[in-house]
């Protein structure tokens, strides 16, 4: 080997050596870099591991700290784990006692629970399981559970976890809503109004009242258009309402429509339509409520007919009719009122009644109007001056007038012209007054006359007695007899005067009515009057006790009886007192078997100073007193008699006399 070659190889070797060193250096550096990288990788690895385990425990905590009750159970539904919320909600604690969830489920839900559990095992998850359970304190709760199975590493199910939600309140609200919906249904169904829900002219729903009204079924309605069975008769047309509702211009409307029934015939329905809108205000439904006003319509028509009828009666009746407002301003008059007052209708309307008719007794009017404001009906007399200036008397019957709200709006008065009656009445009153005065004068006259006549008569009687006594030795028999006759005539004259006095007072003195036993009356008369020996006065039936003036009854019976007993010529005389009770009167009869009274005298005997025959004891006044008393008791007196056939006097006395004091 030459030198050059050695040098060459040496240099080549040197380069190789250096290249190796360089390579080693690079490798060392690379391995240091690798080491650093590995260390950093380890660090970041452990950081990641920590992070992972934290996340896992956090997730665990999520379930434990979850607000809803969370339960882990084995496949027999025995609780393995439960969070605080579950313990609180169920009242059980699985760390203190064994809790099996199936035992909490109420009996009604056991089968459903078993089926749900089976489903969970098959599918692996169970959503919205709902049942009712009884928690430890006995409360019933509605719960909803969402659960899923838990598997071991071999993918075999070992248990299940579930989140329980307390839906008791939710269910209560649901029940309440159901209940309210039912109540609403009842209200809707039992409403007397027909209720229809529609979209456009299509019926969606209707209540039973509506179906009954028209006779279609709800199903039939659903196939029909509203216009198929109804027609507008009043108010805005339905189509227009529908349009305005859709445009949002109106929300409610009322129309009167005619509805045609399935079985024929129709009814008039007042239809209230309301718009039901969605949240955006778009028309969703139309709600119509139909009220059957057919009868109201008929009643209204009848009422109108009656109103017209009465209006024509009022217009044509003879009584004047006026309606005034609360200020007495005339609102309405009829023809008769115009005729009565002499004014024309247009002259009266709008005028104040008391002014135009110049009411004279205004105070009466004010007083009566006052009463009418209080709602009283009344009647009173008015003095007015008619258009011709004549004074008229009107009898007015007034009644308050009300509007529909029962508010007083005035009064209505019916007027009767009583001017003529009034005039007659005044005349009558005048006559009565005059009569009273003349009667009084007459009585005074009779009294004075009888009194003045009696005193000279008593003097004559005394003088005659004196003459008879003083001159009995001087006077012959004829003179004696004449004096006796004179005494008798004077006594007769005295009786006559007494009779006149009684007659004049019979009519006058006040009746003192009390309970009078007529048996006592007759008995006392029997004792006080002269009854001939051959005459018997009998009372076959006990007489009643009546309400009357004792003295007058005494006079009455005495006058008839004393007449009867003295006019009997038969050997045995009989006088009977009989009575009959009528509805309003007592009827008495006094029957004798005496001489009788000829027919021509039957009326005359009751007139004053009339007597039959020349009996000294008869003054001719007695029966006229009888007549007077009976008149005062609103009775009648009559006689049935024929010559020699006896006499029957009949008279009646009203049981409850009315004009006792006149």
């Amino acid at each position: 080997m030459d030198n050059k070659e050695v040098e060459l190889l040496k240099r080549a070797l040197e380069r190789q050596k250096k290249a190796r060193q360089q390579a080693e250096k690079i490798l060392e550096q690379k391995s240091t870099e690798l080491y650093e990288t590995t260390r950093r990788l380890k660090e970041s690895n452990s950081t990641l591991e920590n992070l992972l385990s934290e996340k896992v425990s956090e997730l665990d905590g999520v379930f434990v700290n979850i607000i809803d009750p969370y339960v882990v159970m084995d496949l027999q539904a025995t609780v393995i784990k439960m969070n605080a919320s579950a313990k609180e909600f169920l009242g059980y604690d699985n760390t203190k006692e064994k809790v099996n969830l199936t035992n909490l489920v109420q009996e009604d839900y056991l089968q459903y629970t078993a089926e749900s559990f089976k489903y969970l095992l098959e599918i692996g998850t169970l959503k919205n399981y709902r049942s009712k359970i009884t928690v430890k304190n006995g409360d019933e709760k509605w719960i909803e559970i969402n659960s899923s199975l838990i598997y071991n590493t071999k993918q075999e199910p070992i248990g299940a976890q579930g989140i329980i939600r307390d839906i008791t309140q939710e269910m209560e609200i649901k029940e309440l809503l159901d209940q309210q919906r039912k109540q609403l249904d009842i209200i809707v169904e039992s409403s007397p109004l027909g209720i229809v829900l529609s979209v456009g002219s299509k019926i969606i729903k209707s209540n039973s009242t509506f179906t009954e009204l028209l006779g279609y079924t709800e199903a039939e309605f659903k196939t029909m258009q509203i216009s198929d069975f109804s027609k507008d008769i009043e108010g805005t047309p339905s189509q227009e309402i529908g349009k305005q509702m859709a445009e949002g211009k109106i929300d409610t409307a009322v129309v009167v429509k005619r509805y045609y029934k399935k079985e024929g015939g129709c009814l008039v329905g007042k239809t209230s339509v309301s718009a039901v809108r969605d949240a955006k205000g778009n028309l969703k439904y139309t709600l119509a409520m139909v009220e059957d006003i057919t009868r109201e319509r008929e009643a209204e028509e009848r009422l109108n007919y009656e109103r017209e009828k009465y209006a024509s009666i009022i217009a044509n009746m003879n009584l004047g009719l006026v309606e005034v407002d609360t200020n007495d301003v005339i609102q309405l008059v009829n023809q008769s009122f115009c005729a009565m007052s002499g004014f024309k209708e247009e002259e009266l309307l709008g005028k104040k009644g008391s002014d135009i008719l110049s009411v004279q007794n205004k105070s009466v009017l004010d007083e009566e109007n006052e009463k009418r404001i209080e709602g009283e009906s009344n009647s009173y007399e008015l003095e007015v001056i008619n258009k011709e200036g004549l004074k008229k008397n009107w009898l007015v019957s007034g009644a308050p007038r009300y509007d529909n709200d029962k508010k007083l709006i005035g009064s209505v008065g019916i007027h009767l012209d009583v001017t003529e009656q009034k005039l007659l009445e005044e005349q009558k009153e005048l006559l009565v007054k005059e009569l009273e005065q003349s009667n009084k004068g007459l009585q005074e006259y009779a009294h004075i006359v009888s009194h003045d006549l009696k005193s000279p008569l008593r003097s004559i009687s005394a003088l005659a007695t004196w003459i008879q006594d003083d001159y009995k030795d001087v006077l012959d028999e004829a003179g004696q007899e004449n004096l006796t006759l004179m005494q008798e005539k004077v006594a007769s004259m005295d009786k006559l005067i007494q009779g006149i006095l009684e007659y004049s007072t019979a009519n006058n003195s006040a009746l003192d009515n009390s309970s009078v036993d007529l048996n006592e009356v007759v008995e006392s008369i029997k004792e006080s009057i002269f009854i001939p020996e051959h005459v018997n006065l009998v009372v076959p039936e006990k007489l009643p006790t009546i309400s009357a003036d004792r003295t007058k009854m005494h006079q009455l019976f005495q006058n008839i009886l004393s007449n009867a007993v003295v006019h009997i010529e038969k050997e045995v005389g009989l006088v009977e007192v009989l009575f009959v009770e009528n509805r309003s009167h007592w009827q008495f009869s006094i029957k004798d078997n005496g001489v009788g009274i000829p027919k021509e005298y039957h009326k005359k005997i009751f007139e004053i100073f009339q007597s039959i025959g020349a009996n000294e004891r008869s003054t001719g006044i007695g029966l006229s007193i009888v007549k007077k008393i009976i008149d005062r008791y609103e009775g009648e007196v009559w006689v049935e008699s024929e010559k020699d056939m006896g006499t029957e006097f009949h008279f009646t006395i009203k049981k409850e006399p009315t004009n006792l004091n006149s």
Binding site: R11, A12, Q22, A23, I26
Partner: protein, 180 residues
Amino acid sequence: MKGIVFTEFLEMVEQKFGLETLDNIIENGQLPSEGIYTSVGTYEFNEMVTLITGLSEETKIPVGDLIYAFGLYLFAGLANSHPEVIKNYNTPLGLLYCIEDHIHVHVKKLYPDAELPTFKILDKTDTNIVMVYSSSRGLYRLAHGLIEKAFEHFGGTATISYELLKDDGTEVKFDIVQNG
């Protein structure tokens, strides 16, 4: 430039032209690395230029032909050091097709600071591939040698024609048609 390219180049020079030629181009080159290379290092591209230029002067062979010859030599070196990469492919066309997307990705993994050329595929059929080489180095003849050897590796040949898209050889279109 990767050290393996230098070590393979020196290997080829020693084999083909002898130790003396090798020593000459290193000693005459005044190289900053003094001609000391290791496959795991990285060296200036200019040193390669100096070495090739020196070899061309020494042997009177044009630079382009030397580079082409180096390409033919380099394939075997690369295939020896990284057989797992070649193993993934059944055909040379498949290999070429995947240079950009697969092989260069592997290179980047091992040598993150490697400066690699790009191969843009314009057209590909079962027997033909058209691609554009582009690199600031302009070593398209190196690529040419490598491609040719790749076909040889799979036991085939190809007709490889190229067209310089840029005069300095930094962008070259290759049209490769597999024979047979």
